[in-house]
């Protein structure tokens, strides 16, 4: 049965390993940092400029979770919003390499590093997406790997299979 919501979107068969999506740039303002941090991550270096200057981060810095959420949003605008995504499975290897400070602009790439079909569920494919995010100086700020379920258009065709 074709899903009417996703039928015209990119499916498993439309993707290939090595495909790269460009993300951003997106500027991260002080107000954005405050808003996110007050809701989800109210630690001193995310909500108090004076405390932030005395912290390891060296200045008011976005929550690392905020950086990840903004990166996710950029991937949706560029790719996942046009794909027959069935939802995320999880993340591995998320690393915050350097703070994102107020006024920084983040951009980056997402590369498809693996594609596999489910053995038990022929309609399911898994796409592995590697994020590589930088600031406006070209310095790496975050990497993460997302595994996302995506619909297979023709489940009856054999495919390279995973778990």
């Amino acid at each position: 049965m074709t899903n009417p919501v996703t039928k015209d979107r990119l499916h498993y068969e439309d993707l290939s390993v090595g495909q790269v999506f460009e993300l951003g740039p997106k500027q991260v303002t002080k107000q954005m940092i405050f808003d996110f941090a007050h809701e989800f991550d109210p630690l001193p270096f995310h909500i108090d400029e004076q405390a932030a200057k005395r912290s390891l981060l060296g200045g008011l810095a976005a929550s690392g979770w905020h950086t990840a959420a903004l990166s996710l949003r950029m991937l949706i605008d560029t790719f996942l919003g046009h794909a027959a995504s069935m939802g995320g499975l999880g993340f591995t290897k998320l690393r915050w390499k350097r703070p994102v400070l107020a006024g920084d602009a983040i951009s980056g790439t997402v590369t498809i590093s693996e594609l596999r079909r489910s053995v038990s569920r022929p309609k399911w494919g898994v796409v592995t997406l590697d994020f590589d995010m930088h600031n406006q100086k070209g310095q790496q700020v975050m990497t993460m790997r997302l595994n996302n379920l995506i619909e297979v258009r023709n489940p009856d065709t054999p495919g390279e299979v995973g778990s």
Copy 2:
């Protein structure tokens, strides 16, 4: 030099492996799901109730990233907001096990699974925190492991050391 922001907070020496923090419960409303998803994760099953019913998730579901951010916030209220946290390093093994649907209440535990001192930076400790989040039916919805930097109160004392 003592950090005036964090001097009265929990330091590395105050923590022990096996320590458990209780999180929540926190109810996740339809409006919360819409608000977060429109900003960060605008996929059909997070912003459109009809599309969500036809999706694998079976109904309007919170962005997995929203579940993670809410879990982080609960940990800050319970523990990290009272600790001399220097920031997160990243996480491994984030897994979404089951959707968090509109109206669900999430709660869970965070257990300290590892503590280690930095060799090169005597003032730094790393605390590894394992999240185990459930819904109101007791079903597991998410697990993740976060590595967080925390200040060592007495850097001159020898400690078990890591990398």
